[in-house]
């Protein structure tokens, strides 16, 4: 995966300005609350348009203000796992999982629903109503649903927020398994150093809407870096 971004987005009281290239298979966007992580996720998914700039994923131009290109989300083929899962409440687990799969051209489909369902351990849940699922189950279904749309990139926006430590590690294990097995690139957004350590190889550190650092995860975890982040955002160390 090669994701190139050079974008600006202004709000009344906040400006996001990101200029970088991400090349690793598992990238992270790290930063405290209000640093612009979720805004960046929405822009990449096409749910929010930048004011100006360019976004290119591999060979595909997703957004180019000069050329007037702005691919809608349904054409970007970027899967999103939202913080709150946002499973469709009127469908059961199977309906949710197959929603993207049924809307993916046969030629573009990768893997099989059965394989992803198996890896994520969702078989016993297929006929359940999504309203009866636990937090961890909901996030596994959301991940399966995003993967079954056969995207070029999966975006995960703080998907482990609100889950207890044991559940987080359980989901991370599922996530790691499924990404390794199906070789899907990941952009993982979080404010937790521990999640960055477990989930990513390359990290973009955002602060106040700009890129503060762009480094390998190993570098992020060095003691001097940990100290830096703990000074800037005390909440970060709470999870690590």
């Amino acid at each position: 995966m090669l994701l190139q971004m050079d974008i600006k987005k202004r709000f009344a009281d906040f400006e996001l300005q990101v200029n970088c290239e991400l090349a690793a298979g598992k990238c992270g966007v790290f930063g405290p609350s209000g640093s612009g992580k979720s805004t960046l996720m929405h822009i990449l998914a096409g749910l929010l348009s930048p004011d100006e700039g360019r976004i290119v994923l591999d060979e595909t131009i997703l957004f180019d203000s000069d050329a007037g290109i702005n691919l809608p989300p349904q054409q970007r083929r970027i899967g999103v796992v939202f913080q709150q899962a946002h499973l469709f409440p009127h469908m059961n687990v199977r309906g949710n999982l197959l929603y993207g799969w049924q809307r993916t051209a046969v030629a573009r489909r990768q893997g099989t629903p059965e394989a992803i369902i198996e890896v994520l351990g969702l078989s016993p849940l297929l006929e359940r109503r999504v309203t009866s699922l636990s937090g961890g189950e909901r996030q596994r279904v959301a991940l399966g649903r995003a993967m079954l749309a056969c995207p070029r990139l999966i975006l995960m926006d703080e998907p482990l927020n609100g889950l207890d430590q044991e559940l987080k590690l359980q989901i991370i294990a599922y996530l790691d398994r499924v990404l390794t097995e199906f070789g899907m690139p990941l952009l993982f957004i979080s404010h937790s150093l521990q999640e960055m350590e477990l989930m990513t190889d390359e990290v973009l550190v955002l602060g106040q809407g700009t890129v503060q650092q762009h480094l390998n995860t190993d570098e992020l975890l060095r003691p001097e870096q940990r100290g830096l982040f703990s000074n800037g955002a005390p909440s970060l160390v709470a999870c690590s």
Binding site: G46, P73, R76, R77, V80, H86, F88, H90, R103
Partner: protein, 226 residues
């Protein structure tokens, strides 16, 4: 004891026909109006909202008169209707149109409430999963506003059953053609000795309204379960 004359039975059947036709005829327009008001940012939304809600605050007689001006032989649409040999005034179609116009705001308001309650994140998620707008409409918006649509249809059907003012102006009170239950009751109350017949039709009207509410409740419950 309820006693109904053949003319009363005709009025009951006509009422059901008119209410059903008005509700079904209005449904696609009501759904479209609610969709535009909730999910689009097109200019003129405030005007559309005003036009949709106007029948709610106007006296039905005023609505009937305005419809008469529109659909009458010398009305704005008169020549066009004449060209196609269509008759609205003093005709069953007139009763349907009067009921549809008067009940329309109730239908739209109900559907709109349901649509307003749909978490926009579901639509965002559907977009990222490849659903185009018509697909989101069909797979997310329609099923999630199903109960509101049903509630709106029920309200509109019930309102149509009771519609009087606009109907009598536009469609008249012709037994067997445009005379619905309220118009028949009105006629009985103006007829010496017609009280008992009026009361019988009142009881039928109450029973019909109950049936509508029961059907609506049962459908809503089955939709919730399903």
């Amino acid at each position: 004891m309820i006693s109904l004359s053949p003319q009363d039975i005709q009025a009951i059947v006509l009422s059901i026909k008119v209410a059903t036709a008005a509700t079904l005829f209005s449904l696609p327009f009501g759904f479209a109006a609610a969709y535009v008001l909730v999910f689009t940012k097109m200019p003129g939304r405030a005007l559309l909202e005003g036009v949709v809600n106007l029948p709610l605050v106007l006296p039905p007689v005023v609505i009937g008169y305005l419809l008469l001006l529109l659909f009458g032989r010398s009305g704005a649409l008169g020549p066009l209707l004449g060209f196609f040999d269509l008759r609205i005034v003093f005709h069953l179609k007139g009763a349907v149109i009067a009921s549809a116009v008067v009940g329309f705001p109730l239908l739209v308001r109900s559907i709109r409430l349901g649509m307003d309650g749909i978490d926009h994140h579901y639509l965002q998620a559907a977009r990222t999963l490849g659903a185009r707008w018509w697909d989101r409409l069909y797979s997310i918006i329609l099923p999630l506003s199903g109960r509101a649509i049903l509630a709106g249809m029920t309200l509109m059907f019930a309102r149509s059953l009771g519609e009087f003012g606009a109907t009598i102006i536009l469609a008249g009170n012709i037994p067997g053609v445009t005379q619905t239950i309220p118009l028949a009751i009105y006629e009985y109350t103006n007829t010496p000795g017609g009280d008992r017949m009026a009361l019988s039709l009142c009881l039928v009207s109450i029973a019909l309204s109950f049936v509508v509410l029961l059907v609506s409740e049962a459908s809503a419950r089955s939709m919730k379960k399903g």
